[in-house]
């Protein structure tokens, strides 16, 4: 966490909090010990490309158990009743919403932006570009991670 560009931390944390609190009624905090979040549990990753005004990549990785609890909260049902398709869709929509909030916070208000459609994969790490950093977040059910990749983010640095 110490190596993460600090100018992204505040806007990203705000975006994650707003999204999870509104959609899943869950409180989210950066963990006091990020190293504890590197669990290696089986999980899912959603990847979203930012097309304009920068070209960059954002990824959200979440262990299956955490995604199950988030999904259950959003759909107000038991985690076991949710299909794989629903879980994928929820992760994609969470990333889509977080990315929009994050970019809206970072960019000047007169600057429109354009994003691609999120893609969900099974597994943890599909970032294809050099990474800017990993940001971990903790819920009552476990941790998840957001990764910013690609040199495009440099244009928004401070």
């Amino acid at each position: 966490m110490a190596d993460n560009p600090v100018h992204f931390t505040g806007p990203l944390t705000d975006a994650v909090r707003i999204c999870l609190e509104n959609m899943a009624f869950m409180s989210v905090e950066p963990p006091s010990r990020p190293e504890d979040c590197r669990s290696g549990q089986e999980g899912y990753s959603a990847v979203l490309l930012v097309h304009d005004p920068i070209q960059a990549e954002m990824q959200m990785s979440m262990p299956a158990a955490v995604l199950g609890e988030v999904a259950a909260s959003i759909y107000a049902s038991d985690a076991e009743e949710l299909t794989e398709t629903q879980r994928h869709d929820i992760l994609a929509e969470l990333l889509n919403t977080i990315a929009g909030l994050f970019l809206a916070e970072l960019l000047p208000c007169e600057q429109a932006f354009r994003m691609g459609l999120p893609e969900v994969h099974k597994g943890d790490d599909h970032a294809s570009e050099p990474q800017q950093g990993h940001w971990f977040f903790k819920t009552d059910h476990g941790c998840f991670c957001i990764t910013l990749s690609g040199p495009g983010w440099d244009a928004l640095a401070g």
Binding site: N22, N96, A112, F113, R114
Partner: protein
Amino acid sequence: MNRIIIADDSDTARMFIRRCLEIVGLHEAEFIEAVNGNEALKIAKQEPPDLLVSDLNMPVMDGETLLKWVKTSPRLVDVPVLVITSAGNPAKEAQLLELGAFAVLNKPVSPAPLLKVLAPLLAEDSDG
């Protein structure tokens, strides 16, 4: 408002928007869901809705194109289009309002801002 079309490629987003619309008092409306702008346009042409809620970023036909089609179709021009998007900021909002959107809200949507923008339509309903 009896007939509401919700266009979004995400099942989760459609469910969430529908839930918020029900909370603000539209629990008796008929909700028709579409997974992209093209599907929403086809449904709207068959029978114009009282409200069209649309995402922007969708495959096949995006929400901005859908808005342009609705606002240039004599049969649909009066349908209020509420855009709910994750790619919203003041610049985009101004552009969409210029194209004829009734209102623009950012995701994640919640009942309070939804109620605020829909108040004029809900008032028309209760008057009529």
